[in-house]
């Protein structure tokens, strides 16, 4: 243990352990308490659940609401929509499950005090689009966090969970998690009979467009550090669709959202000459993906594709035509409040650059890629489906349990369920919470036990970067350059450069191929080796180090999946230059991977897609 032998270890027992207190985690805590009245429900969060996760800043819309009470949509309609947007590949059993429950979640949010706008004519929720309702959501997260705090037995803020713990006797059963307190430096061992991973997806695995001070203004929160994936991957949970990274068309520099602009304000896009451009690329896109281009609405990735082609043809930038809509004072207010409610940074950009959309049509851009499971994309863990109708290939136990016993997930963690957004993530947390309580109740006396050897080993590993820094720092005069360690920012920038240049980031216009992917894996392998020499000056940098570990493992998974799928399923998200066409004959399937932490090897396989047939 060297310099850090005296570090305190805190033990926490729980029946249900919820990792991550964002939307999914709050839903999991709430529902676990409803069903498990006498259980100990513990929620662990690396920040403060009052403002944590992707909704920390607020939201101006809830993007997943059926409106069954007014017969606006039915769950199967949402499944068809998500299937269409993801080019045919979603877990329809899981998506239907979220859609059938999500309205009750949203009705609770309103009862709790979330201001949901109403259509003055109909009295119904104000629709932004077919699936979206408009809210004044600055305090969306504090409201939801209040409900979670009332549900959980204990909430531990500022604890970065680094690893899951496995049962001492049963090889494929989870037993808890370890992490450290980023304020005190205490080591935490959480024992849990069931564990629900509700951590965040991944920003900052591909190089962002802004690499200076503005690198933090990513589309997805910079604190979304891929723990959703790394925690389950490391204990051998199977993952699916990790190649399905997402690229967002957003307002330039601030990545301000466009949904309300398109759907509610009825603004539209044009090229630099004021021309419509999507039809220019219709035949080109059809040659790549066939009749998927004829579906409505046009899939998100294909709309990106037209933008990329138009800009490459020299007719960029693509701009949002706002000048007409913003003459209406109500629409102007909605346009600005939309940013102030969820992407304040875009308002800052426009104020700083004198961009008033009433007078100037603002530029759009395509973002760097992100890996997450709740927007127009569906990377994540391979999970068991609902008991009442999921096909046998999708059902091996409790709803939302991964392929590791007792390990559940929700939100960004669970794969195959695109378009769940904030409300769907909370709802999926509820589904997982009920199932986890059932699992704990059914367990009886056969309870998991953590291994002292395992957590003591992890304790050394977790704090090693502090020791590396302490020792190495004494050898140099000053500054950040040492032959013996690299700092978290160094490792992060190397990761982003590898992913950008070899795995289809902005630097190659989202293009990659087999050779590049294999080279990317070699370089990621060296980065993984170098991670043993990470130096952390303090506990904050130690948190950054473990976030980087999680990002690297998720990146490796993304690269392996991208290599495995020999087609271009989502042009506009990424391109396999050596397999440019969509190939339904061979690849109308899910990709599923499993990592072996002892050998470091990945196994990839295909899994069947089941559709709701009418």
């Amino acid at each position: 243990m060297g310099l850090f032998g005296g570090r305190k270890t805190v033990f926490v027992d729980s029946d249900v352990l919820v990792i991550g207190g964002g939307m999914a985690g709050c839903g999991a805590a709430y529902e676990s308490r409803y069903w498990g009245r006498d259980l100990k429900i513990v929620c662990v969060e690396k920040a403060n659940i009052e403002r944590s996760g992707a909704v920390a800043q607020g939201l101006y819309a809830i993007n997943c609401y059926m409106g069954m009470q007014w017969d606006e949509n039915q769950p199967e309609d949402h499944v068809r929509y998500a299937r269409n947007d993801l080019m045919g590949l979603v877990r329809e059993d899981l998506g239907y499950d979220i859609a059938r429950h999500v309205d009750s979640t949203v009705h609770k949010f309103e009862e709790w005090g979330l201001p949901i706008m109403r259509d003055p004519k109909t009295g119904r929720y104000q629709r932004e689009g077919k699936w979206q309702i408009m809210i004044h959501g600055e305090s969306y997260k504090p409201i939801v966090a209040e409900a979670a705090r009332k549900a959980a037995t204990e909430v531990y803020n500022r604890i970065m969970v680094t690893h899951l713990l496995m049962d001492k006797t049963k090889p494929n059963r989870v037993a808890g998690a370890v992490g450290f307190n980023v304020r005190t430096g205490d080591f935490y061992v959480f024992r849990g009979k069931a564990v629900i991973v509700c951590a965040g997806g991944a920003s900052h695995i591909f190089k962002p467009r802004a690499v200076g001070e503005g690198m933090g203004r990513t589309w997805y929160a910079p604190w979304s550090s891929a723990s959703a994936y790394a925690l389950p991957i490391l204990v051998g949970a199977k993952m699916t669709q990790m190649e399905n990274r997402i690229v967002l068309t957003r307002f330039k520099d601030g990545y301000g959202p466009v949904g309300a602009y398109f759907l509610h304000l009825k603004t539209y896009t044009e090229n630099v000459y004021g021309e419509e451009y999507e039809s220019t690329w219709y035949e080109d896109t059809k040659a790549l993906v066939g009749d998927y281009i004829d579906r409505h609405p046009v899939p998100t990735c294909l709309r990106n594709h037209a933008i990329l082609k138009e800009v490459a043809a020299g007719r960029g930038p693509i701009r949002m035509v706002t000048k007409e809509a913003f003459q209406d004072p109500h629409k102007e207010t909605v346009g600005w409040e939309n940013f102030l409610g969820m992407t304040i940074g875009q308002a800052v950009v426009w104020a700083s650059q004198n961009i008033d959309p009433k007078h100037i049509n603002p530029e759009l851009t395509t973002s760097e890629p992100y890996v997450m499971g709740s927007h127009a994309t569906c990377s994540g863990a391979w999970a068991s489906g609902p008991e009442d109708y999921a096909p046998s290939e999708y059902q091996w136990g409790y709803n939302r349990m991964m392929t590791v016993d007792g390990l559940f997930g929700a939100g960004d963690t669970i794969g195959g369920t695109a378009h769940k957004f904030s409300s769907g993530s909370f709802t999926e947390g509820r589904i997982a919470g009920k199932a986890a309580v059932k699992y704990v109740n059914d367990m009886g006396k056969d309870q998991p036990e953590v291994s002292e050897a395992e957590y003591e080993d992890l304790k050394k590993v977790v704090f090693q970067p502090l020791e590396n820094y302490e020792v190495g720092r004494n050898e140099i005069v000053a500054g950040t350059v040492s032959p013996n360690y690299i700092l978290p920012i160094h490792g992060l920038q190397r990761l982003e450069k590898i992913m950008d240049e070899y795995v289809g980031g902005i630097g190659t216009n989202y293009m990659t191929n087999e050779w590049q992917l294999n080279r990317g894996l070699e370089l990621l392998g060296m980065l993984k080796e170098d991670m043993e020499k990470m130096g952390a000056e303090d506990l904050h940098q130690l948190q950054r180090t473990w976030e980087l570990h999680h990002r690297i493992l998720a990146s490796e998974s993304v690269t392996q999946h991208t290599l495995f799928r020999k087609e271009t399923r989502w042009p506009g998200y990424y391109y396999r230059g050596d397999h440019m066409k969509l190939d339904d004959e061979n690849w109308h399937c899910f990709t599923v991977s499993q990592y072996d932490r002892d050998s470091g090897k990945w196994e990839l396989e295909k899994a069947p897609v089941y559709h709701i047939v009418d």
């Binding site: 979330l114 549900a151 503005g214 933090g216 004198n354």
Partner: protein, 154 residues
């Protein structure tokens, strides 16, 4: 910076340190006041700005794309359930916006254990807490039949 702290207003209370989702607001050991230790990991989410009791924290847009001279100020008043914004453009134009943030009292949410406990049989059903009543529909929770899911192209 993007967020930064005015020396004369900060009293070192640490609310910003406690709330920052990115763990980048820390207390300077010499001045005993808060500052942003890692501006390039700031999302400009304004959680710290809203939480500061002294209005000591402001935002200066990211230096790599935001010209100086702008200002986006906020006043969040949870007890009134309102948030107010003032934007100032580089050229001096101003815009003001006010929005509601909550319709109920803070702390008023009824916890899940305050409802009647579910029965053992309820575990075997698909309904979650407060269902089916909170769906507000006739006919109960929708469900698929297993034979409605098939392999193949659609």
């Amino acid at each position: 910076m993007p967020t930064f702290v005015y020396m004369t207003r900060c009293d070192g209370c640490g609310h910003c340190v406690d709330i920052c989702p990115s763990d980048i607001m820390h207390i300077d050991t010499t001045y005993r006041r808060a500052f942003n230790i890692e501006p390039n990991m700031c999302w400009e989410c304004y959680s710290c700005v809203k939480a500061c009791p002294q209005n000591a924290i402001d935002d200066r847009g990211y230096a790599d794309f935001a010209p100086l001279g702008h200002s986006v100020r906020v006043l969040r008043e949870p007890e009134k359930g309102v948030i107010s914004w003032r934007l100032q453009f580089r050229d001096g134009r101003e815009k003001n916006f006010v929005s509601p943030i909550r319709t109920t009292e803070w702390g008023s949410i009824k916890g899940p254990a305050e409802y009647d406990a579910p029965s053992a049989e309820d575990f075997d059903k698909q309904e979650l807490a407060h269902e089916p009543e909170y769906l507000n529909i006739e006919g109960g929770l929708p469900a698929l039949r297993p034979d409605q899911l098939k392999q193949g192209l659609v």
